[in-house]
């Protein structure tokens, strides 16, 4: 049931061209005291979701630094994942009545995994709530344990959080994606941003011909202004609000709107939202509502690169890494000031923040009127991502954390 994952090599030196040789030398210097020392990452899924996507790249890069790193995936039955999915939603603030049976299922699978997984590395990094109770396997003083929380705990369901907190408070530290997402805990809490990989399909450079092909495939005119929001069809991403903002902009500027998200065919709620979006679009030929396949990194990359302005008009957001993806491509971004977005968009420096449909429309019009400002915001945004939200920076943060734990 539990798995140790083996991943292909990703040469660290490939990043030197983008970041400079000094940055890679620095990673090697930071890793030097940790060479050969064991690190174990544990999460609950090998594929799908942001955590698996990051570990798939991060673990091979850590191996390049001669760290003895392993990635273990905990096992669980359908009943376990039903419970943890409900916990996940409840921790995000959704209404939920947890029963004793739910807690028993959670504890039983964690116990089973404690018996199967080695859990004896010098540094144990446990991701998200599912494996949080593995900490019970720790022998006093034997190794360092940290908990990485990828979800927003700012308004959690009290019962579920109280249950989890008893385990979390036994760790040596916890990492959150934003200060806003953290909790009052008796252990140190650290800021760990999610990251994008500049050499992944979603972010690597594309040739113009490929971008043109993608635009042609979806009937988008490359000669006219393109406003884009890439998001699943979810009310919290406010696609209807995006259309309303576009309509205000359209009174003053000729433009097209691209709303691209994963297919809603296997997501009942997504299908409902998609219908609402199509109703709001009302047959406007300049609104392109695209249902992309579940994994379409090259199309997303091309649409972002072809955009004049990228939007992220969410009503609520985790970190919102699509913002960093757009900034990396030097695109001006107009986004809502929610969740982790203000960390990425420093207002008037790396993009523009908005708080309403009208505000979003105003900021878009401002950028369309001042293309030189739009260009500068995009360039600063690119530098901001380079300094803070790349996978190499994430690796550096992990090295710093491990050195801090080792020296404590």
């Amino acid at each position: 049931m539990s798995d140790t994952l083996t991943l292909g090599r990703i040469p660290l030196d490939d990043y030197a061209e983008l970041l400079g040789a000094g940055e890679i030398e620095e990673l090697r210097a930071l890793a030097s005291p940790l060479r050969g020392r064991s690190i174990q990452m544990v999460n609950s899924t090998a594929v799908g979701g942001g955590v698996a996507e990051i570990l798939t790249r991060l673990v091979p890069l850590a191996e390049e630094l001669d760290l003895n790193i392993k990635w273990e995936v905990m096992g669980g039955g359908e009943d376990f994942f039903e419970v943890t999915k409900a916990f996940h939603n409840a921790l995000h603030g959704a209404p939920y009545h947890a029963s004793q049976r739910d807690f028993d299922i959670f504890l039983a699978y964690n116990k089973m995994n404690r018996e199967k997984l080695p859990l004896d590395a010098e540094f144990m990094v446990i991701h998200d709530p599912q494996p949080a109770a593995l900490i019970e396997a720790r022998r006093p003083g034997a190794n360092h344990w940290v908990w990485r929380c990828h979800i927003d705990l700012s308004h959690p369901n009290r019962t579920v959080w109280d249950f989890l907190e008893q385990f979390v408070s036994k760790y040596d530290g916890a990492m959150f994606s934003s200060p806003e997402f953290s909790r009052q805990l008796p252990i140190p809490q650290y800021l760990f941003y999610p990251a994008i990989d500049p050499l992944s399909e979603k972010n690597w450079e594309l040739d113009r011909e490929f971008i043109a092909q993608v635009l042609a495939r979806y009937g988008i005119d490359p000669q006219r202004t393109i406003l884009t929001q890439i998001s699943r069809f979810d009310r919290l991403k406010d696609p209807v609000g995006v259309i309303r903002a576009y309509r205000i902009v359209k009174r003053y500027f000729d433009c097209q709107l691209v709303l691209a998200g994963g297919s809603a065919s296997d997501d009942p709620e997504g299908a409902v939202v998609l219908k609402e979006v199509l109703r709001e679009a009302d047959g406007d030929p300049d609104i392109k509502v695209l249902e992309l396949p579940a994994w379409a990194p090259l199309e997303v990359n091309a649409l972002q690169r072809a955009s004049t302005i990228v939007l992220q008009k969410s009503l609520r957001e985790g970190f919102g890494l699509t913002v960093s993806e757009a900034l990396w491509k030097k695109k001006p971004v107009v986004a809502s000031a929610v969740g982790g977005i203000p960390i990425q968009i420093i207002h008037k420096h790396t993009g523009l923040l908005a708080h309403s449909v009208e505000g979003t429309a105003y900021q878009i019009r401002f950028l369309l009127s001042h293309p030189e400002i739009a260009t500068r915001l995009g360039e600063h945004g690119h530098e901001h991502v380079k300094e803070n939200f790349l996978i190499t920076q994430k690796l550096k943060r992990y090295l710093t954390l491990l050195l801090t734990l080792a020296r404590a």
């Binding site: 400079g20 040789a21 000094g22 940055e23 030398e25 620095e26 210097a29 930071l30 030097s32 005291p33 959150f176 200060p179 806003e180 953290s182 009052q184 140190p188 809490q189 650290y190 800021l191 000031a337 203000p342 420093i346 207002h347 008037k348 420096h349 790396t350 923040l353 708080h355 600063h380 530098e383 901001h384 300094e387 803070n388 550096k396 943060r397 090295l399 710093t400 954390l401 050195l403 801090t404 020296r407």
Partner: protein
């Protein structure tokens, strides 16, 4: 070529951001936070943020000023906070004292703004610093130049900006060694006059390298 007795040792730094327990939703709460937060927190929001946002050379100075500007819309106070120049400080206590004075004075004069809710809260964080030697050092100006040309941003920041607090002098590691190690006081002074607010780390490094090249041509 002149060689220093004590070599310049290149070091790099990495910061972990620790989330504190304090936050502010008004200017009055910002003042309370400034009075009570740790030295590591003042460092994080002033010195360290200057390094991590070095690419912003127009109007970004420190996190306090940026929050006051974008979340409380008090441009005049933001300007007063932004003009505090970290080069004028060799201790966090002195910097904290000035930050508190500026915010307290503003809240006294504009008491109606002191309790107004900000758009987003300000979260006090701290920097946890880890330094590691890069295993390279320099005894001559040529070796020094070569070392600087290959430094990462963090390492350059460590030697050029945050060093003031370490050496407790109104200078930086590079100038300190150029003057004391190689006796090049004029060059050291010129290096110390490179503006860290209107330059990115890359452009500051380019200026520094040009100054060194000019000195090498003299010899």
């Amino acid at each position: 070529m002149n060689a220093a007795e004590t070599p310049f040792e290149f070091v790099t730094v990495s910061y972990l951001t620790r989330i504190g327990n304090q936050s502010a939703g008004t200017l009055a709460e910002l003042l309370t936070g400034l009075e009570h937060c740790s030295d590591a927190s003042i460092f994080h929001h002033t010195f360290q943020t200057l390094g991590s946002h070095h690419f912003l050379t127009e109007g970004f100075s420190n996190d306090f000023a940026q929050w006051v500007l974008s979340d409380t819309n008090r441009n005049d106070l933001a300007e007063q906070l932004a003009v505090l120049d970290v080069r004028d400080y060799v201790s966090i206590a002195a910097l904290r004292s000035d930050l508190c004075r500026v915010v307290a004075d503003y809240c006294t004069v504009h008491s109606h703004f002191a309790g107004q809710s900000a758009l987003e809260r300000f979260y006090f964080c701290e920097s946890v610093e880890v330094t590691v030697p890069l295993g390279r050092n320099a005894r001559t100006l040529d070796e020094f130049r070569d070392g600087i040309a290959h430094l990462s941003h963090s390492s350059f920041y460590f030697h050029f900006i945050s060093s003031r607090l370490r050496v407790q002098l109104r200078t930086n590691d590079f100038s300190h060694w150029l003057a004391d190690g190689l006796g090049l006081r004029t060059l050291a002074d010129s290096v110390n006059h490179i503006d860290i607010y209107t330059n990115t780390l890359d452009s500051a490094r380019s200026k520094l390298l040009r100054l060194i090249d000019r000195e090498r041509r003299k010899t």
